[in-house]
């Protein structure tokens, strides 16, 4: 339990500058590809032109013979080990259905071969010289086609494991019940059912996937990778290449965003094998086109939600049925599906009956992976739309309906233990929840009472306001682990070694803030090294909103151990009891006012008496996953002439416990919200009738730019999470779930249509409006 009180914070709770900020703003060579090693080979991938095919033959002789080509890889000369590319804890809850290369391809862009050459241009020429004979197979291009009777088997191989039913292309099947939903619906006065579909979307980190591999002087394989999961990379690459894990070192330097697409072991095996075979450094960087078509995407889903409530607004039953398209491989298929229910249904714990049913299905389409929100983003669309519709039918304000039914402090939900990340979850009781206050401040800020239902017209524009509420989690209980090591230097500075992965989120900074707070020093005295599998202790990596809550607690514990060691050294110096000593202002204080600087204390331990290195390691495996809570409000203007939706004002009131660094917490929210707005209004990967991505470029896949950001208010409504470091919960993901349902509900307030397909492009909105107008006539 946390003993740290907000009033006493010296470093935590301050918007300290990022520890890596200066390096980034001056363009220091801090990213993967900024390290220029002599003799580096450039690796290029040949991707399949077909959505589904067998490779009958590959002739690489011409390619191999070309000048400057160092090595050509295909299924003929690489390890056949089945593995998952999903960066998850071992044993991974994703099927082992992937080989480095195979004589079968399962989506357009799937790996066929790879070339390493002196220059990128030479590698590309060699790629063009590889002759492949394909036998095209019937391609499965939708969920319905995948599940149809007699559908082609996308994974017919014997040696894949962890697939729920490969004969029917079903990767995962989840079915959990609480109570009896049918009885619940029977007892309801009002029933609402809503079905929606969400689109293929891509993370578009501005830096694509990139890895530089090389052998160090001891001939260990070093993978300098733009990854969210360095430790999983080490383990999975060792297994895939069949080399001892201790021969691999993974380093994550600064990376250019991830958002989940880099929670994947996508290219490290390839570069690593090139280096092992040639002895030379190898650089593999995905092109933007490959990033779209051949890395990872959001799982498109079709979801049906059915709600039943009595006329006083109390939910009697919630049913959610989700079908997820996981593409050619099953990475994150089960867990994203499970999250669609596990992060949504517990929110309305007042419903005594609930049923979640879902399947994740293979198709010959781009592969779904981890993407911020991780299923909850898809799930909140139909849930919050249905709640809105229910409020309408009951004649209740949407806020009131939410308020009556959402979870509160001291409460739990049977869903917590029935549905976790791919297996059972963990029972928990909410210990911090400021959702009511979030709703209150958000409603006030947007002007809910004045604007709701007004349908204010201004020429072609009609205005509306909508809202939604949501929760996420903070890490995966009993599964995730983070650890930290702190060692002291004799000048009173500390090295903080953390496995935790900073993808630009600022985790290096906030974790250092936590340590600095415990040790009583300013942030600058913490020297952070992160994400190096040789030097930093284990951490699962940056996903599941785990860093602040899980890695943060590991840091807090390590710092407390170090603090205790410092006290023990200082006690004889200050002639006081160890427990009475306080650390602050870079010194140790005794109750009688005597002090010794931290430098003095460390000097004593380093050189004088009973010498030892003041240092400690601590771990954290959380036993619960306290949710952050979010209330979203949006005012939109919809053009009745073109269907264009403009977000005029978006308010997000979020409870993430104590914000370790308010500026960074806001930054996380703002980034997630704007990504969510893009997801709601403009982002869509279009797939051709042959399974090819038609718009694999930032020119035609439209993400929000500066011109698209509405007036955006993020309001941090702090609570205090007793199980969290310094009272904190995590905040990395929740924001992205907000815009779709909130904007959908606002559109309904404005023009009376319920949008069912994302994104809500002008054409879709206008079509929906015209259909409604016709059916009203």
């Amino acid at each position: 339990m946390s003993e740290y009180a907000r009033e006493d914070f010296a470093v935590v709770g301050k918007s300290e500058r990022k520890v890596d900020g200066r390096a980034l703003v001056t363009g220091k060579p801090a990213f993967v590809a900024d390290l220029d090693l002599p003799n580096t080979l450039h690796v290029k991938i040949l991707g399949s032109p077909h959505a589904h095919a067998r490779i009958l033959s590959i002739d690489t002789r011409d390619a191999e013979g070309m000048p400057g080509v160092a090595c050509v890889l295909t299924h003929q000369n690489t390890p056949p080990t089945r593995h998952t590319t999903a960066g998850q804890g071992y044993p991974e809850p994703s099927p082992y259905d992937t080989r480095m290369f195979e004589d079968r391809v399962r989506f357009v862009g799937d790996r066929v071969a790879a070339v390493a050459a002196e220059t990128e241009a030479l590698a590309e020429e060699a790629i063009a010289a590889i002759r492949v004979e394909y036998e095209e197979l019937p391609a499965v291009l939708s969920i319905d086609e995948a599940l149809a009777e007699g559908a082609p088997r996308i994974h017919p191989e014997e040696d894949s494991t962890g697939i729920y039913d490969p004969s029917r292309n079903i990767v995962a099947d989840v079915d959990i019940d609480v109570g009896d939903v049918e009885a619940g619906f029977a007892a309801s006065d009002e029933i609402v059912e809503f079905t929606c579909e969400t689109q293929y979307a891509q993370h578009t980190p501005i830096e694509t996937h990139v890895v530089l591999s090389y052998l160090d002087n001891d001939e260990r394989l070093v993978l300098r990778s733009s990854t969210q999961v360095p430790f999983h990379v080490r383990r999975i690459v060792a297994g895939t290449l069949g080399i001892p894990m201790q021969r691999i070192r993974v380093i994550k330097p600064r990376i250019g965003g991830g958002f989940g697409t880099k929670q994947e072991v996508l290219i490290e095996d390839l570069a690593g094998l090139v280096t092992l075979r040639t002895g030379r450094p190898a650089l593999l960087s995905l092109t933007r086109k490959e990033e779209f078509a051949a890395s990872r995407t959001r799982h498109p889903m079709r979801i049906r939600v059915k709600l039943g409530a009595t006329k006083d607004g109390m939910l009697q039953a919630i049913e959610m049925e989700a079908i997820s398209n996981t593409g050619g491989y099953g990475s994150h298929g089960l867990t994203v599906l499970a999250n669609t229910g596990s992060k949504t249904l517990p929110l309305y714990n007042k419903a005594p009956n609930a049923h979640f049913y879902g399947q994740a299905v293979y198709t010959n389409l781009p592969v779904g992976g981890a993407y911020r929100g991780y299923g909850a983003t898809q799930g909140y669309f139909p849930l919050e739309t249905a709640m809105d519709e229910l409020a309408d039918r009951l004649g209740m304000d949407p806020i009131d309906l939410r308020s009556k039914n959402h979870i509160r402090v001291g409460e739990g939900s049977p869903i917590f233990e029935k549905l976790g990340e791919g297996r059972e979850g963990v029972s928990q009781t909410i210990k911090s929840c400021e959702l009511p206050r979030c709703i209150e401040v958000g409603a006030e800020r947007i002007g809910w009472a004045e604007k709701r239902g007004q349908k204010r017209r201004d020429g072609e524009w009609v205005r509306g306001v909508g809202m939604s509420i949501m929760m996420q989690g903070s890490g995966i209980p009993l599964i995730d682990m983070g650890a930290a090591t702190i060692k002291m230097n004799e000048d009173g500075s500390f090295n903080l070694l953390i496995g935790a992965t900073d993808l630009g989120t600022g985790s290096d900074t906030i974790l250092a803030q936590i340590a600095a707070e415990v040790l009583g020093v300013p942030l600058e005295r913490m020297l952070v090294t992160s994400s190096d599998t040789d030097f930093t202790p284990f951490d699962v990596g940056a996903y599941a909103s785990s860093t602040t809550y899980v890695s943060g607690m590991a840091v807090q514990r390590a710092a407390e151990k170090v603090r205790d060691q410092i006290r023990a050294v200082a006690a004889p110096l200050l002639e006081a009891e160890t427990e009475s000593l306080e650390l602050r202002e870079e010194a140790v204080f005794a109750p009688d006012g005597k002090t010794a600087s931290l430098a003095r204390v460390c000097e004593r331990a380093m050189y004088e008496t009973n010498q030892f290195q003041i240092a400690a390691t601590a771990s954290c495996v959380p036993t619960e996953s306290p949710p952050p809570f979010l209330a979203n409000f949006a005012e939109v203007a919809v053009s009745t002439e073109t269907g264009l939706v403009k977000v005029l004002h978006y308010v997000a009131a979020v409870d993430c416990g104590v914000a370790i660094n308010p500026q960074l917490a806001e930054g996380q929210m703002e980034g997630a919200l704007v990504n969510g707005i893009g997801y709601a209004l403009s982002e869509e990967m279009l797939i051709s009738s042959r399974g090819r991505v038609r718009n694999p470029s930032l020119f035609s896949y439209k993400i929000p730019g500066m011109l698209d950001v509405p007036k955006l208010d993020v309001i941090l409504v702090e609570s205090y999470e007793p199980t969290g470091p310094m009272g904190a919960k995590s905040v990395g993901e929740i924001g992205i779930n907000g815009p779709i349902p909130t904007i959908a509900n606002a559109i309904h307030d404005a023009i009376g249509v319920r949008m069912t397909h994302t994104p809500f492009t002008p054409e879709r909105v206008l079509k929906a409006l015209m259909e409604k107008t016709e059916s009203n006539d």
Partner: protein, 282 residues
């Protein structure tokens, strides 16, 4: 894979023209290079950089505007002659083109030569009645709409200058672009120019582009307005006619059906603005 062997920077139009003529199909002129940087045809081994040539703008004595092919889109937008031309329509349109980063590099000549069907500049110039000067050892002129309709006819010629006519006594221009995000090419764009005489439309040019095809004038709409006042009735008729006659079709940005709706909206908005700014032409 680009097979470039030579990059030359001639110091005169004549020198550029000679270099292109000698190398034939294996040479291309390059302005800013925004499009060539993305793709150089296999047969092209020589780039002839003409961006420093014809890089001036001037206002003619008759009030018309001459724009050198080497002028960048940003330079044109910053030219005060452009700000004063027909209520600043050039500046208004240029602000919607691509991004400042791209406008700083892209030249007017290059933009016309690339002739992207989603171009905003082209329908605007068509509506303004632009004449294009080509250099083929000597200068000759052609209407822009003819140039973009038949690219082959001008192959090998160097675009050297855009000439915009002197604006009529009472005239207005307007532009609409329908986008998904702010930094985008249009699902459709619309450029209109109307000159008035005795309160009625005397010259009307309406160009719709990004349909998704190259910008074209909509003759039916223009004929409808010719000699008519520009008021709510005629504007609505024009908008309706535009949606009926625009050669719109589906592509990944929008469907043909939706583009017909946008065509009507674009024409209506443009003409309404022109009418309002010109007192209905009266």
């Amino acid at each position: 894979m680009a097979n470039l062997e030579k990059y030359i920077r001639p110091t005169s139009l004549e020198e550029a023209w000679q270099a292109l003529r000698e190398a034939g199909a294996s040479a291309r002129p390059i302005g800013g290079g925004v499009d060539l940087a993305l793709f150089v045809p296999r047969e092209v081994t020589t780039l002839v950089d003409v961006s420093a040539l014809s890089s001036e703008c001037s206002v003619r004595t008759d009030g018309g505007l001459d724009i050198g092919a080497g002028v960048t889109l940003t330079e044109l937008a910053e030219y005060d002659g452009a700000a004063n031309y027909l209520g600043g329509i050039l500046v208004e349109v240029l602000r919607k083109v691509a991004s400042p980063l791209l406008r700083n590099l892209a030249t007017v000549g290059g933009t016309l030569a690339s002739a992207h069907p989603w171009s905003d500049v082209i329908p605007m110039f068509i509506a303004l009645g632009a004449e294009i000067e080509l250099y083929e050892g000597e200068t000759c002129a052609t209407a822009l709409e003819d140039l973009v309709a038949d690219r082959a006819a001008a192959a090998g010629a160097l675009i050297s200058r855009v000439r915009l006519p002197a604006p009529a006594g009472r005239a207005g221009a307007a532009f609409e672009k329908f986008i998904r995000t702010g930094f985008d090419v249009g699902m459709l764009n619309c450029a209109c120019y109307v000159a008035f005489e005795d309160g009625r439309c005397s010259t009307v040019r309406v160009a719709l582009g990004g349909t998704p095809d190259m910008a074209k004038r909509v003759g039916d709409v223009e004929a409808l307005l010719d000699g008519q006042p520009l008021d709510e009735r005629t504007i609505n008729e024009a908008a309706k006619r535009a949606s009926e006659t625009v050669p719109a079709r589906d592509d990944q940005r929008a469907s043909g059906e939706y583009r017909r709706i946008l065509a009507a909206a674009g024409v209506r908005r443009c003409l309404t603005r022109i009418a309002a700014e010109n007192g209905g032409g009266a």
